[in-house]
């Protein structure tokens, strides 16, 4: 298992956001994390990606314990997340947003930036090529030199996905990547996510509310409610699971209702 989460818990000021999360994600899979609002999905992402520290429990990535590592070290280890509300660097261009995320740029060290300009320039050219390819993939090429702050919400979402790919992740955590993205682009985005897995072997874990999307893209679905994992299995089994149906019916009108909405 690439990602292994064991008995992880986190509370904020006495309120348990996650009381006992245990699940794993297989390498090369697309796994969805679903559940009603407040189930603790985003908190799980924050815990796994190191942006919040767990109160207890163990998290391993690629055989290495990561629950005490900071977010930037987890990202360097190959586990990269994107945020629910996109975090683009507004007063920088789209290209700068992308190139910033390129990994192993020696010019980020002061000494190399000053003393080895040629090596830095070579690496910059590589990063630029890669950034332009990715921008073409997410259809933002025409905005390359625009300030990221001038982008729409959906475009920012795409830019954040592109930026995460610049890190060359082994696994990527997507928090509602479809929210705010136009339906036409949604289909393309889904295809890109499938391609990512097929061509580059990237493992994908995704939080999503749109049940059509979840059912069509996932190899496996993990269902959370009230801070715990209540079901875990392939899409067909999840659809008929009585606990899952109850969790959804009790709050927001059922799984199939969500799919048709």
């Amino acid at each position: 298992m690439l990602l292994d989460v064991r008995s992880v818990a986190k509370s904020f000021g006495g309120v348990a956001a996650v009381s006992d999360a245990t699940f794993d994600v297989a390498e090369g899979s697309i796994t969805s994390l679903i559940g009603p609002n407040g189930a603790g999905k985003t908190t799980v992402f924050n815990l796994v990606s190191g942006f919040i520290r767990a109160d207890r429990g163990e998290i391993s990535f690629a055989g290495r314990r990561i629950e005490r590592l900071s977010g930037d070290r987890i990202a360097r280890a190959g586990l990269v997340r994107i945020f629910q509300t996109p975090r683009v660097l507004t007063r920088m261009t789209v290209l700068e947003n992308m190139m910033l995320a390129a990994k192993d740029q020696p010019g980020e060290r002061l000494w190399s930036a000053w003393m080895t300009p040629r090596r830095v320039a070579r690496k910059e050219a590589e990063g630029r090529d890669k950034a332009e390819q990715r921008l073409a993939l997410i259809r933002l090429s025409h905005l390359t030199h625009e300030y990221a702050g001038a982008l729409s919400g959906g475009q920012r979402k795409l830019l954040e996905l592109g930026r995460a790919l610049m890190v060359e992740p082994r696994m990527i955590l997507l928090d509602e990547p479809m929210a705010g993205v136009a339906p036409v682009l949604r289909e393309q985005l889904l295809d890109h996510i499938r391609e990512l897995r097929a061509e580059q072997g990237v493992t994908v874990c995704i939080i999503e509310h749109d049940m059509d999307v979840v059912m069509s893209i996932s190899d496996r679905i993990i269902v959370m409610d009230d801070g715990t994992v209540i079901a875990d299995g392939p899409p067909d089994a999840i659809q008929d699971n009585p606990r899952v149906i109850e969790a959804y019916l009790g709050r927001s009108g059922g799984l199939d209702g969500g799919a048709r909405a």
């Binding site: 930037d72 990269v80 975090r87 190139m99 990994k103 910059e124």
Partner: protein, 326 residues
Amino acid sequence: MDLFNPGFWTFVAVIAGIYGIMALGLYVQFSLAGLPNFGHVAFMAVAAYAMAILVVRYEVPLALAALGGLAAAVVLAVVMGVPALRLRADYLAIATIAGSEIIRYLVMSLPELTGGAIGSMGLLGPGEIALYNQDWQAFRDAIAGLVTPLLGAAPSHDEVTMALVWALLIGLIALFWRLERSPWGRVLKGIREDDTAVAAVGKNVVHFKMQALIIGAILGGLAGLLLAWQIGVFSPDDYQPTLTFYAYLILILGGVNRIWAIPVGAVLFSLLYTGTRFLNFFPLSLFDPGERAFLRLFLVGLLLVLFMALRPEGAFGDRRQLMLEK
């Protein structure tokens, strides 16, 4: 004061250059890395005091004492940065305000160490006047001697200092202009925009912030040393908290996030600040000179407010950047 006295304007140019170096330090911290430093003057004061104490008490050669002064500024940056940089930016603002006030109170309440309210003259205790500036004057005279044959006339002390300070300012701006455009500068700008996003793509944000804080402290310390050398003797009053806000004004006047506009901002600020000295004509001459001094500060404030209202992006800033949505 004579409006057409070149000696006066040379002095103004020296101070403008020193303020430019001070503002460059703040540029690295605030404009590049987004670190709100409201105690920049503390780096200046600590460097000046450490230098003067080393020279006067321990007879350290000036160049070494200057390095000691910069090292003291770095230590202060680390002491403030280690606890505050892990937290949100607001905490650094608080830490720097508190840090600079602590330095000021320490200076005032430890006269055996710092000379207290008398300042650098009192460093050897009462009864003896302490001077730290002989080596600097000798250095300036040596340079004046070197260039006299080239110029045909001996330059004044202030002219030598003006040339040194402005050469230093331009050289440092060229250096940081280049670094700003390097991948290092890009990471700092990213941190300014959203440090969480930069951490999420694998950059060690705390490490980069600490670098920016330390570099800003070194540049601030350098400005503090130059100011001490220029004025010859200094007291706590020469390192007032308002200096920090002069540095912000210089960045804003020149243009937000425009490194090469810093000298423009420094000159504009100095002109605003010293130029109002000459407002002694009717109707302002109706006030007596003491009242006019207050009026002068009032006019500086008014001009700055007008500048901000009519040209918020500064002389050379990019207006589009201001209008982007966060």
